[in-house]
Structures are given as structure tokens and as C-alpha cells.
Assembly symmetry: D2
Homo-oligomer: 338 residues x 4
């Protein structure tokens, strides 16, 4: 039985408590929050769980093996660092930290402490993304041409992070997980329409190896909610619509066939191929439950984190460079070592 | 009665012939094409109209007042120049020319010859775009925040122009027409997935005055066809879906209200407003017919071209700078004089 | 403070407990169910509420003012009758009873006992249906021509009632509430595809006064889920799509204009009118909460039940006659007194 | 070379002329219409084809082998009879005749004259319907449970036939072609909302062998256009949406599994099965072209009409009985011999 402390009881905290309450496997002993009103709600909803305003109660409690941190981004580093130093395994909300430097420090600290550091990139554990990875990695869609995501809606404006850190973070995690490649450079454009606030509209382009490109359009100020991603390969193409109640994934047997005729300067270079469309049936499972089981298995030494500190750090690096490019109006920023 | 020569009888030429055949107003006397097979089809479809392989027959024919040029982009300049020199009014397919230099020359020549030079940016004459302009220019949607267009499908690859010159050209014309503002700088990213071919995927961002931004996502290699544009203002937001058989325009009474409370650092800066949605009924008219009548009125001196050579030139300038930015992976290029 | 007993803790019971727990207005003192496992779940979810396997504990408890009954249809009559005899106000799930005779008895009993008898036709309390009624009753859509509903999905097969009693009951309640008219006759067709089971596909047509017609297509064996209703009037037409996350209602300014030219035998009798479409913004409220407040107000004598026993009885009568027509393959059955 | 006369040059006639103009196979020699204005348009569009106001010119012309009749329903019988008597093969618009008696006479006459009598049920020749038949007849969807079609839009009111004869005729032809079964009885409900006009809304239910049911909802007065058909079998289910530009057919691997446990009276009788969805790629061919080639092959003795007079007659019989049932408000009418 692995015992948890959950830190932060806002929007996401209750889901963490619920999903780490697994009879015979794990339990939540303490819920911490700096807001007494939130703790009152926690006590009402989970009457068997202790609550505390002081997170020190978690660090000092030897019965607690691991913590799940669901607080605003600006407190991630401090809390995760303290938890690791106190010898706890850590699951922290995405994005992992506010800076690459903080992220590197956490990764090193977790290694030194021999504790699991995992980032809650929940999307990675959805049946849809699991299936996309399988379609891509098996070679079924062929060489990847592009990943193009539209993730827009009305609200919720964040005040400590811009829309890239809030929404594009999902696509960056999916990209990292699905593709067997790291970005070479990033060009990003972003605009703020609220004086004094962060960018609420942004367009991020990632140059990938092999002429692949990733593009992410995120927006807090759109009249309609859209969650649509196109992933095209040389053999097949995927449309992922996360708002579809069923048929979230559609696989199109479509593409182009290149004509290698050198004489074809004035003729069409490519011909089109249109075949069947197929929507694989996806299991109905809660991603956070899958993730919770995976985190437990990692703590028990049976699995290696899919969304570990190293991946969390890669995502923070993209977020940092994208923000840097936004400040320079799209000027491309190469990745270190790429 | 204004008499036309139509040059180029490929995909678009037949539409020009049909729309310039207006009893009592205009007629098409000659159709020219360098391809005898196409002329044979022209003769079959329009038995009363002469055909010629030699465009000189048009220049030298004093009965011809005006020409409509529907040939590949690379021949636009040469044909339009010859037509103007021969004293004909000119309607030329978009984009007007391959370079800004060529465009400037045509604009000057038309002025010198006192002839109408108009570019066939057909989209401008659709009821939907006319209505969008009215919604924007009347102030009904408030201060414009962004224009965000997704214009993707499978094919048709062009070989002499990239996807920006082929598809983004529509959005650039709409932007030029709808907004009362000129872009300050452009950042564009594009990729080619066909060896030796032009970019088939591109993302163009335009920095506009007043923190407005325009973004255009164009793609010849998408599994599904999408024609969707979001235009958000401080008061209302528009969704323009050109594939909808009816309800192409939806106007959402949605947005944010800014809280000017300086104490609100840790509270939400904005609150959301959600009201009715409204889809104005649009007349069912053929845009090219509206455009043809407008061109005739311009020739007769009663109207000034909406899509004249000056506008065509502005579009070519954006296309040229966007292509330049693409070659530099998104590096922003300022507009001359902006 | 009005005190409730909730009977039946299956799918719907928890929602009743939650919605009748209104600080300062009403509370749930006891939850009854014949299944100990369900009571265990109730105790876990609502730790402050007593549970019992024996419904007699509710009848004999003088502190309980009212009951909410969420059991299978076959037990509605017996439980509601006992509750009324014990002097409790009653909210019972729809359909109210299995037969008209039972329904008449309950209505009479409630009157004799001077207790409120209300049926949980939840749909009536949704913002969408409230708005539809207002659009219809205000005359805005003109004379009603038809109500046409498609309500299909895969599952859940019921074993004690057919698909008409399970799904068409929603439309019958909406019709009763929205229109100021009672059906004249019913013709229904239904088929069972599971040996020994009730009809799982059915088509119910109601002849209404003034050449209006209502048609309800219900199906437990459809590959896709659809909840779409068309309501056409002489002036406007409504499309109600309950699966739309927003824009559930669309009002179309469309219709026909009759030509009263007696000479028009061989010409078109009607001309079409197409105007704007408009989607009114609907408040985001939980229907059951609205209904709970209304039930409390009825008990307190301040309001009269919208979905009282008399309405519940009218719905049961339609269900009974529709089932009778189904047994006779669509033979129309007139309504008594119509 | 087979030579045609085309009778009627309204909406559909031009398509017939175009599709029967097949170099080396067939040609249209004469177009007949009683309206001189329509003949003028015919002469303009097809300059090489003769026109006549007098249909006798066709009967008496020995060079004409076959006629295609695209006139209002009320003249079908008279024209087809005259054509057959004149020794011409006949393709006539659907529905074939106004009455069963007329239909029987034409079928007999064609047999006596040894001429081909075919009805232009164009839908049967679409790739979608061809594929549906293959999916049904191969047993891939299992035992057919139901066919449920929604075919509604705004307009066009006909004045000589009701909405069943105008729109349901498509579904009746599809049903006849797809299923290997004939209806046992029909129950239909219809209403007219225009004084003096035919029914503009109708619901037709067909009882088929083996507890299968077909239901057709047709409406000239709907705010939106819908063309959607559900076809469910014991193994798979089909959704046919004719307005989808691609993916017109979707095949769902969904259904129920029956539990044959006799003890399951109070438990669920069925369990649900949800698998992949699959949209077969359909060829892009014009149905009328396929039909024209088939008609030629029938005339040449190489094929037997798929939509011959016998099928046309079966459809007219259903239309006649459905209208009869409508007059009796849904009273079921058995089919002769069923």
C-alpha cells in the first residue's frame, strides 16, 4: 500500500484524490491546501482523509511515500524540490516547472534521491493518444509529414502563464510521446489582447527532422471550442477530434504518390490516392486512472515513467524557447544540441 | 456593349466566358489558348465564339475592349502588359504577378494607358465576404483581435507556385478588403514534402496595427477539406465556414470583459460573456457575376475597382515577403514603410 | 425545512438526493432501497443520511414530509399510493404509472389527501424546453404544423417497458407542455427484434387539432445517438438538438407563403421564404434543481405543479393508446373525448 | 449506335440528353417538349439536336430506337404507352405511372412488344446504394432489423403528387433493390398544411418479413435538409448520409448480443457490442451515366433491367397503398398476396 499526500485541492486535486484511492494499492492520507475553504470542501467530499494548511505536515510525515502536486505552476518547483528532499516520490502537474534551470535541478535531485519524478501529462494516457503512438511508431502511417493542432476555446485566461504554457503544453507532450524525434528549432508568434496579461493567442511551429513540421494553434479567445489535430504521413493520415463523443480517431487511407518522371516539369508532380476511412474503437478508460496505476508501478520498480522528469524537462524547454521566439515575433530559435 | 477576349480556357476560363456573356452589356468575341484541345472544347461549348491559338489576334483586334486572363501565374505579367499596351482593359487571375516589380510596372502602365486593371480576387465578391466587411467596418464586432483561417484539403499540387500563392492568396485578399489596416510584418513557416516541389504546407502570421494578428494555415496534403475562418473582435466574433451549404456565417455575441481592478493580480483578469448566436441569411448570387458587372461599371467609369491593380500589388507584396520569411524559417520581415 | 425520503438508489436516486439537499429549504432524511449494496453506496456517498431496506420506515416516520420515488415503473403505483395514504407529498419518476386506471386512482387520492402529486418529467424544466414553450406560446413561430422527433441510440434495453414508455415519454411530455392542444388520435408502429422482449423500435404519430401532427421515432438499436426535434410553424421553424454542447436551439426564419391565386393549378402553390437563423443563448442550469425548487414551492402552496398528476396521467394515456395501436400495426386509436 | 428521343426538357431532361450522348454508343436525335421556351434552351445547349413541339414526330420517326421520358407523372402512362406501341424502348421517370392499373398495362405491353421498359430510379445506380446492396446481400450486416430514412428539406412543393410520391419513392426503390423481401403491409400517416394541396409531410411504415420494418419520414416543409438512412442488421449497422461530400456510408460494427438465459427476467436481456467504424471509399461516378450504359446493354440484349417495369410497378403499388393508408390515418393495408 502506497500512501499519498495530495497538495492543492482546486480543479484537479479532487481527481487525484479519487484516482489514488485504489483499494489494496494506494491511499491518500493527507490533503494540503493554503485555502481553508478548499480544505473544508475536501473534508466534506473525502471524510476519511486528513487535511492541513501546512505542507510541512506532509514532508515530516514518514507514513507518506509520495505526493501529487496540483498547484499553480509558479509553486511547482519549490514544492517538488521539498518533497524530493523529504524523500517522497513526486507526481507534479504540467508544465513541470517555470524554467529549464528549475527542471534540470529537479531531474538531478530525483536521481540523487533515487525517487520517482513524474509529470502529470494526462493526455498521454488517453486511449486515443496511445493508439496514435501505435499507428505512428508501427510505421502504419508511413513517414510523418506534419502534426497540426487546433486547440481553441473561450477562456479560461490564466494570469501566471501564457496560452502556450496552458494549452500548447498538451500538444508538445503528445508530440514528444508519439514521434521518435526531437525538434530542431521553434518559431512562435503570440499576441495579448488584454493589457498587462500574457499572450492569449499563439501559433507555434516546430521544425522536426526529415522535413516534418509541427504546428500548434492555441487561443483563449475563440467563439467556439475546437480540439482537432491532423497527423499526416506518407501512407495514411489521422484526424483526432477530442470533442467527438465516439470516433475520436479517424484514419484515412489517403495521400499522394510522387511521379519521379524528370520530364514532368509542366505536368502534375503528384497523383492523389483516396481509400477507405476507418475509426478504430477505443476503450472507455479514464486516463488519470491508467496514469495512477503506472505511477504506482514505477514506484514499485516495475515500470519506467512514460512522462518522467526528463520528458517534463524537454517540454519546458520547448515552452521556454517558444516564448523566447514570441518575444522576437517568430524569429526561429534552434534547440541546444539539435 | 463591351467586347471581351478571354485568354486561357482551362478550369476557370469557361466561367469567365459564361459570366461576361451578358445580353445587352457584354460579349466574348474570342477565346485564346495555346492548347488546340482546349480550344476544341471551347468551340463545342460556346459555338458562337471565335477561337485562336495566337493571342496576337486579340491585341490586334480593335473590336475587343477588354481581356480576361486565366492562365498560369507565370504568364500573367507578359499577357497583361501586352494587353494594356494594346489599349485593352484587363482582368487578370490572382495572384496578379509573380513579383512586386512586375506588379508595380502593370499598375503604372494601366495608369499611363488610362485603362482599368483589375485582379480576379473572386472571393471578395461573395455575399459572405461582403457581409463580413460590413460587420467589421460598421464597428459591430468592435476592435479586431485576430483573423485566423484554416484552408486545407488534399491537392491540387501546383508546380509553379507554392501553397501560399495558391491558397493563402484568398485570405490575404479578404484581409485587405475587410480590415482598414495594412500589415506591419510577416512571419511564415513552410515545408515541402515532395522533392523538387514548392512548399505544400505553410503557416503565415501577419502582425497588424493595434495588436491584431492574422494567421493563415494552408495545406495541400490534408485528409479532409476545411475552409474555416475565425474573426474575433472586442464585441463579437465571426465564424465563416465556406463549406456550409447555408449558414456560412455565424456571429457570436461572445467575448471577454476586462476587469480594471489593479488588485486583481491573483484573481481572474477577465470575465466571459456569452450571448446569442446569429446566422445572417445571405443572398444566393454567383460572385463572378457580381464581379463581372463591377468590372463593366469600372470600364464605363461609373465605379472604381474594388480589387484593382493597387490591391493586387499589395497582395503580391505579402506573398513575396511571406515566401522570403519561409526561406528564413519564420524570421519576421517588416513591410516597407510600415 | 421540508424533509424527504428518497426511494430507489439506482441511476437516478443519487441525483434526487443531491438536488433535494438545499440548505435552509429541504433535506433528505432517509434513503430506501431493497438492495443492500445500493444502500451501502448511498451511505458512502451521503454519510449524513439514514438508509433502510424497509420502505415502511418512511411511511411511519412523521418527520418526513415528502418522498421522491425513483424505482422501476412497475412499482410506481404501489409506492406512490402508500406514500399518499401515509400523508406524504409525492414526486414520482416518469412514466407515472403502468396504466391509466392506476394513474386516475393516484390523481384522485392526491386530491382527497390534499397532497402534491408530481411526476419527474425532468425535460420540462430544461432551459431549452422552457424556451421552446415560450417561442410556441407567444405565437412567434405561428401556427404549429408539426413536431418531429428522432430519439435513438444503442441501448439500454429495458425489460419491463417498451421503447415508447422509455424514450417517447420525453417527447410526449414536451408536446403536452409546449402545445396548447391535446391529441385527437394516435397511430403507432413498433417492432421487437429480441425474442421475448418489448418493442425496441417504434414510430408514434399523433393527430393534433388544426392539421398539426406529431411524430416520434424512438429506437434502442441505432448505431449512433441522435436527439433531434424539428418543430415547424407557419412563421418560423425550430431545430432542437439536445446533444449540441451549446446552440441546442436554432430558430429558422423560414417557411412558405401560400399563393391564393385560384388560377395556379399548374403553377407552384407556394413560395419559399428564407431568412436568418438565430440560436438564443440558454442559461446553464440543472433541470432537476429547477424542478426541485418548483416541487418545494408547490408543497408550500406558492405554485401549482407544471408536471402534476393530471399531466402525468395524460402522458400515460398516450402511452397506453400508442401501445394498443402498435399491437394493431398502426390502426389509429382515437382519444376518449377527442 | 442507338438513337434516342428525349421527351421533356425541364429540370431532368438536359441530364438525359447529356448522358445518352455517348460517342459510338448512343445519340439523341430529337428533343420534344410542349413548351417552346424550353425547346429554345435545348437548341442553345445542344445545337446539333433537333427539337419538336409535337411528340408524334418521335413516334413516326423510324430512326429513333428508344425514348427517355422526363415529364410530370400524370403524362407518363400516355407517353410510355404510345412509345411502346410505336416500337420504341422506353426509359421513364419515376414513379412509373399514377396507378397500379396503368403500370400493369405498360408491363404487359412492353412484353408483348418485346421492348425494354425501364424506370429511371437513378438512386439505384449510385455507388453508395450499390455498396449497401452488397453489404446487405452478402450477409455482412446479418439479419436486417430495420431501414429508417429521414428525407426532408424546404420545398419543392409538387402540385400533382404528394410528398410520398415525390420523395419516399427513392427509399422504396432502394428498399426493393437492397432487400431480398417484399413488404407485407403498409401503415402511413400524412398531413397537408397548404389548403388544397397534397400531403407535404408523411411517415410511411412498411412491415417486412421476419420482423423487419422500414420507416420513411418525408417532408417538404423542414428548416434543414437531411438525407440520412439507418440500416441495422444483427451483425452490423449502416449510416448512409447522402449529403456528406465523402464518407457517405459508415459501417458500424455495433449491435446487441442476446442472452438466452431463461432466468434473466429481471436482468438485462441483451448486452451491447461496440467495435470499429469503417467508411468504404466509393468511386466517383455519375449514377445516370451508369444507368444509361445499363439501359443500352438491356436494349442490346446483354443485360436485364435492374429497374425494369416490374420493379417500377412494385414501387407504384406501395405508393398507392401508402396513400390509401394515409387517407385512413395509418390503418394498415396488407399487400395483395403477402
Amino acid at each position: 500500500m502506497i500512501t499519498f499526500g495530495v497538495i492543492g485541492f482546486g480543479y484537479w486535486g479532487p481527481n487525484l484524490v479519487r484516482n489514488f484511492t485504489i483499494p489494496g494499492r494506494s491511499q491518500v492520507a493527507v490533503i494540503a491546501d493554503r485555502d481553508a475553504a478548499k480544505l473544508a470542501r475536501a473534508a466534506e467530499r473525502f471524510p476519511g482523509t486528513a487535511t492541513t494548511l501546512d505542507v510541512e505536515d506532509i514532508w515530516s510525515n514518514p507514513a507518506i511515500d509520495a505526493v501529487a502536486i496540483a498547484t499553480p505552476v509558479r509553486s511547482h518547483f519549490e514544492l517538488a524540490e521539498a518533497a524530493l528532499k523529504a524523500g517522497k516520490h513526486v507526481l507534479v502537474e504540467k508544465p513541470m516547472t517555470e524554467t529549464v534551470e528549475q527542471g534540470e535541478h529537479l531531474v538531478d535531485l530525483a536521481a540523487a534521491q533515487k525517487k520517482i519524478l513524474m509529470v502529470d501529462h494526462t493526455f498521454i494516457y488517453t486511449p486515443a493518444v496511445q493508439r496514435i503512438r501505435q499507428l505512428v511508431r508501427s510505421g502504419e502511417i508511413g513517414q510523418v509529414y506534419y502534426y497540426d493542432s487546433l486547440r481553441v476555446n473561450l477562456g479560461l485566461f490564466q494570469h501566471d502563464v501564457n496560452v502556450v504554457w496552458d494549452l500548447a503544453v498538451h500538444d508538445l507532450a503528445i508530440l514528444d510521446y508519439v514521434l521518435d524525434a526531437r525538434p530542431l528549432a521553434v518559431s512562435a508568434v503570440g499576441v495579448s489582447h488584454v493589457p498587462g496579461a500574457c499572450e492569449n493567442v499563439a501559433y507555434v511551429s516546430l521544425f522536426m527532422p526529415g522535413d516534418a513540421v509541427a504546428h500548434i494553434n492555441v487561443n483563449w479567445l475563440a467563439p467556439v471550442k475546437v480540439r482537432q489535430t491532423l497527423i499526416a504521413g506518407s501512407k495514411k493520415m489521422i484526424v483526432f477530434d477530442d470533442l467527438e463523443p465516439s470516433e475520436k480517431l479517424k484514419v484515412y487511407d489517403r495521400g499522394v504518390t510522387l511521379n519521379d518522371d524528370p520530364e514532368s516539369l509542366y505536368r502534375t508532380l503528384v497523383s492523389y490516392r483516396t481509400g477507405d476511412m476507418w475509426a478504430p474503437n477505443l476503450p472507455v478508460t479514464e486516463a488519470l486512472h491508467t496514469e495512477a496505476l503506472h505511477f504506482l508501478a514505477c514506484i514499485e520498480g516495475r515500470e519506467t515513467p512514460i512522462t518522467g522528469g526528463d520528458m517534463g524537462l524537454r517540454i519546458v524547454r520547448v515552452l521556454e524557447l517558444a516564448t523566447q521566439s514570441m518575444k522576437q515575433r517568430g524569429t526561429p530559435i534552434p534547440f541546444p544540441g539539435a
